[in-house]
Symmetry: D3
Subunit: 68 residues, 6 copies
Amino acid sequence: MKISARNALPGTIVAIKKGATTAHVTLDVAGIKITASITNEAVDDLGLVVGGTATAIVKASDVLIAVA
Amino acid sequence: MKISARNALPGTIVAIKKGATTAHVTLDVAGIKITASITNEAVDDLGLVVGGTATAIVKASDVLIAVA
Amino acid sequence: MKISARNALPGTIVAIKKGATTAHVTLDVAGIKITASITNEAVDDLGLVVGGTATAIVKASDVLIAVA
Amino acid sequence: MKISARNALPGTIVAIKKGATTAHVTLDVAGIKITASITNEAVDDLGLVVGGTATAIVKASDVLIAVA
Amino acid sequence: MKISARNALPGTIVAIKKGATTAHVTLDVAGIKITASITNEAVDDLGLVVGGTATAIVKASDVLIAVA
Amino acid sequence: MKISARNALPGTIVAIKKGATTAHVTLDVAGIKITASITNEAVDDLGLVVGGTATAIVKASDVLIAVA
C-alpha cells in the first residue's frame, strides 16, 4: 500500500502505554523518539509489541515548524 | 517556550516550495526527510531559508502507525 | 500494510483538482463523496487518476460529530 | 449551520465507548463504519445514544489517500 | 446543529485570501485574530465575505499548549 | 521560539482534567474558553497548573469555519 502522507518514518517500538481508550506508542526512528496517540483497538489490531518494527506516518499538514 | 506536542525533531531546512497560499518546507532530521505544509506567511514570519536550522513539531494525536 | 487509523473507506476517484502545491482528490465511497486535500507530489507519487480505485484514510481523532 | 469541512457523512450511531476523558463513537454511514474520537463531554452535550442519527464531519486536510 | 468540537469561537470576518485551491480566512474574535485554512469551495459554499459573522471551530485534540 | 502556526492565543489556565493517558486543559482567553486535549506527560512536563498562564496554539489548517 502507498499512502499520500509525505512523512513515513520507519523505526522500532520502544514503548506502548494503554489508557482507557487511547494508547501512546513510542518509536525509535534513527535515534529519535516519536510518539503516536492511537486507539487501543489499533494497538491490538496491528499486533504492536515492544521491539517490533513499525512506521510512523504524518501528513505534511500536521507538521508545524519552529525556530529558536 | 515549551510546547505540549510530544514530538520535536530538530533538523536542517533542505527545501522550501511556495504555492499560492501554502508552502512545503522539508527538513533533514538525522538523515530522515520530514515535510511540513505551512502558510507562506509563516515561512516569511519565521525567516525560513534553505540551510537554516528549524524544528519539526508534531502532536502525538497526528501520528499514525503502520505495520507491513 | 496495516494502519492504525480506524477509518479506511475504499472508493473510486471521481475528481482531481491540482493547485500550486495542494490538490483536492474526491472519491465516491458507496455513493458518498469524500474529498481529501493532499500534496501535488502525492497525487503523482501514487499515480492517482480519475476512475482509479483508492482508499480514504481518516484518524478517529480527526472526525467530528454533529447532530441537528 | 453550514460548515467549511468538505466531508459531512450522515449516519446512525451503532456504538459509543467512553474512556476516562475520550469516547469512541461509531456511525454506520450507508453500510460503512466510521469511528470518531471525541470528548466524553461532547457525547453528553450532544445527547448521543446508540440508534440515534448523527453526522460525521471531516476536514479535507485530515483525509489521507492510499492505493494498493 | 450542535457539534462535538469543544471550541466554537464566534467572530467577524476581517480578511479572506484565496490561493489556487486553499483560502485563508481570518476572524476577529473579541479582539483576537484567528486564521483558518479552508478550501476555496468552502468560502463560496458558505458565502463568506469580509464583515460577515462566522464561527471558528477547533477540535480539542488540535490545540497545542505552550508555556514561556 | 517562533512557531509556524498562525494562531497563538495567550490566556490563563482555568481547568485541568487528567484521564488515563489524555488530559483536557481549558484556558480563558480574553473571556473565551479554549480547551486542549494533550497528553498527561505534557501537563507534567510543562508544569501546568490552574491559575498559570499558557498559550493555546492552533494550526490554520485545523480551524473549521461555520455560519448560521
